[in-house]
């Protein structure tokens, strides 16, 4: 095997991260090329230097009172008759699940890389620094457990509120596509999940051509979902799953504004819907200019207008519940921030069959900081859609996340999609993943699929 000097394998070899077989291959290459061997030595020298330098950093300690509280908590959990953290059976289940998760991680790593799992290796233990107790707080009257985590996200404010009731059994309604609709354009049928959780229904474009969504999107719902599944091995309450927060947790590589005078750019694309044949998905993507101060745009509001001649009905995915007053007032956009909204559409027959024509437009209104006049970013969307597999990776990844959210919410709109489909699509759409969030999402997905979701 020929190895170039900038091959990461050399570093992995120098650091002892390769298994015997891989090491042997690298060693053969080193024997054939003395400059490679010198390269390995140079890498080791820098690594040793760095390790020594970092080891010289101070080793902090918990405050003695914190340590005591933890030990006391452990002792209390031990005592018979106290409430244990989890009954024995649950502990066993957790352990089994953890093994499954570890296996999944191994598999993932095996697919993605060449290196095998290694033990932690012998590291020098950190020596305690004397005098760490100097700033021990005095009179800490509040028991730690009373305020478990001051940083716990507040989900109460983001719980979806029910939308208006729809009559499930009224069959005397017109139908469009696969859906029955009321005269006011609301969908009959799949508006509520099995547990009564309401979702934005399909709406008839002829009666409701305009859609708005709030641009101030929190991301705490995704963090909650990830924490529960990955750290606590349990599924979130469907009401705590907010699809738009999950989708917008991930970074997407949307182009920013061309004109330096604009702060926001918007684009709209169609792809065929992977869970409902005959439907299409519309992605509306907003990207803020990168440079600028804390805020590059304020009072930003978004609207999508559908042409009823081309769109029979539409459904906003996520963003459930009424727009709050604050949301209606508009959001601030930080530099380089982005926002993704997904719609599921049923096109009219003429739009499906005919040449490309506009099906509608997406528009974002905003003000520049310090300006009163309103600016707009507008894009039109044509009717031609690509196959889902041909959509760009960002689009597919966002849809996979939304699909997972629909599964977690027991959404009636999830159609034919299973957790296996979500895993497959997400894995195929990871792309560059500069923050590692997409890779982590796949670990979460796999954990959910193997340990938590019923087999399909």
């Amino acid at each position: 095997m020929k190895i170039s000097k900038d091959n990461p394998l050399l570093t992995a070899y120098a650091l002892g991260e390769l298994d015997a077989g891989e090491s042997a291959e690298v060693e053969a290459a080193l024997r054939a090329d003395a400059s490679l061997a010198a390269e390995v030595e140079a890498i080791r020298a820098v690594a040793a230097e760095l390790e020594a330098d970092l080891a010289a950093e101070a080793t902090p300690k918990l405050l003695p009172i914190q340590r005591q509280r933890l030990l006391r908590q452990a002792a209390q959990m031990q005592r018979p008759g106290r409430t244990a953290p989890a009954p024995r059976a649950a502990v066993l289940t957790l352990r089994r699940r953890l093994l499954a998760a570890a296996a999944a991680l191994l598999l993932l790593g095996g697919l993605a890389g060449l290196w095998m799992l290694r033990g932690p290796g012998g590291r020098p233990t950190d020596t305690p620094i004397a005098g760490g107790a100097a700033n021990q707080p005095t009179g800490g009257g509040v028991e730690y457990l009373a305020a478990l985590s001051p940083y716990e996200p507040d989900f109460a404010s983001s719980t979806p509120r029910p939308t208006e009731k729809v009559d499930f059994f009224d069959l005397s309604r017109p139908t469009v596509g696969s859906l029955a609709l009321t005269e006011s354009g609301e969908a009959i049928g799949p508006a509520k999940g099995a547990d009564g959780l309401s979702e934005n229904p399909f709406r008839l474009a002829a009666r409701r051509p305009r859609s708005t969504f709030g641009m101030a999107v929190d991301i705490s719902s995704y963090l909650h979902v990830q924490q529960l599944i990955f750290e606590e091995t349990r599924l979130p309450d469907p009401a705590d799953v907010r699809i738009e927060e999950m989708v917008n947790y991930f970074p997407y590589d949307y182009p920013g504004p061309d004109d330096s005078g604009d702060a926001l750019a918007v684009r709209a694309d169609l792809a065929r819907c992977p869970w409902s044949p005959g439907h299409v998905l519309l992605r509306v993507a907003v990207r803020a200019r990168a440079d600028g101060g804390e805020v590059v745009a304020r009072d930003a509001t978004a609207a999508v207008e559908f042409d009823p001649a081309a769109v029979a009905s539409w459904r906003l995915i996520g963003f459930d519940g009424p727009l709050t007053a604050a949301g209606a007032r508009g959001a601030e956009a930080g530099p380089n921030s982005s926002l993704t909204a997904l719609y599921e559409l049923v096109l009219t027959d003429s739009a499906e069959a005919g040449p490309d024509r506009p099906i509608g437009a997406a528009r974002v209104d905003y003000r520049l900081p310090g300006e009163e006049s309103v600016r707009s970013a507008i894009t039109r969307c044509g009717s031609s859609s690509v196959a889902f597999e041909d959509a760009d990776a960002d689009f597919r990844f966002a849809v996979a996340v939304a699909g997972f959210g629909m599964i977690l919410r027991n959404s009636p709109h999830r159609g034919s999609w299973t957790a296996a489909d979500v895993v497959e699509q997400a894995e195929a759409a990871v792309g560059d993943d500069p923050l590692g969030r997409r890779g982590m999402f796949i670990s979460v997905l796999r954990e959910a699929r193997q340990a938590l979701l019923p087999a399909q």
Binding site: N7, P8, L10, T11, A12, I43, V46, A47, L50, D53, L54, A56, E57, A58, P60, K61, L62, Q66, R67, R69, L70, R72, A74, Q78, A86, V91, R95, L105, A112, G113, L114, W115, L117, R118, G119, P120, G121, I129, G131, Y151, P153, A216, V217, I219, L223, E231, E232, Y252, V286, A331, E332, N336, D433, P434, L435, G436, R437, G439, F441, I442
Partner: protein, 180 residues
């Protein structure tokens, strides 16, 4: 739990002895705040107790770093404006404050490394610290950060390459160390 099962506190004590310092360094580095770092690490150990996880060795290390990291990132997000269009960029705050506990020579040494590292992108700094300060393997780092193993390998390779150039430029004579 691990071991005989009749002494959870002793087991926790051992886990804390092994992991408290490295986890604190990691958390404080992300948060740039010693107090919050301690809160996060305390919370991490408490979660370990509550989870009822029966973990040891490399799995335990990986679990602790994963939970610790997620708690840190929660706090980073809470600190910033939670609103708005989502802000995807995760900036690791690389705390400049040296610890008062460090001996003067050690401090100088550490500051040189920290200074050289601070020119690197945040994700490279993080994997370097996990590998060379936390003692995690590529595989474990991948588990903690959600990166692929090959991604971790690439980041570490790139970071070391850049540090080499920097070390050469900055201090051609310095890179000789007296054995203790």
């Amino acid at each position: 739990m691990s071991g005989s099962g009749d002494n959870l506190a002793a087991w926790l004590g051992r886990v804390m002895d092994d992991h408290e310092g490295p986890l604190l360094r990691y958390a404080q580095r992300i948060l740039g705040d010693a107090d919050r770092g301690r809160d996060v690490v305390q919370d991490t150990f408490l979660r370990l107790l509550e989870s009822g996880r029966d973990l040891e060795g490399s799995h335990l290390t990986q679990w602790l770093y994963t939970v610790c990291r997620n708690r840190c990132l929660d706090i980073c997000r809470k600190d910033r404006r939670m609103s708005l269009l989502s802000e995807p960029a995760e900036r690791m705050q690389v705390g400049a404050e040296p610890s008062p506990d460090a001996a003067a020579s050690g401090r100088e040494q550490a500051q040189k490394a920290a200074a050289a590292m601070s020119a690197l992108p945040a994700n490279q700094q993080e994997v370097l610290r996990l590998r060379f300060q936390g003692g995690l393997s590529y595989k474990q780092i991948a588990g903690v950060t959600g990166l692929s193993v090959s991604n971790v390998g690439f980041l570490i390779h790139t970071a070391i390459g850049r540090l080499r150039k920097r070390f050469r430029v900055e201090a051609p004579g310095r890179r000789r160390r007296q054995e203790p």
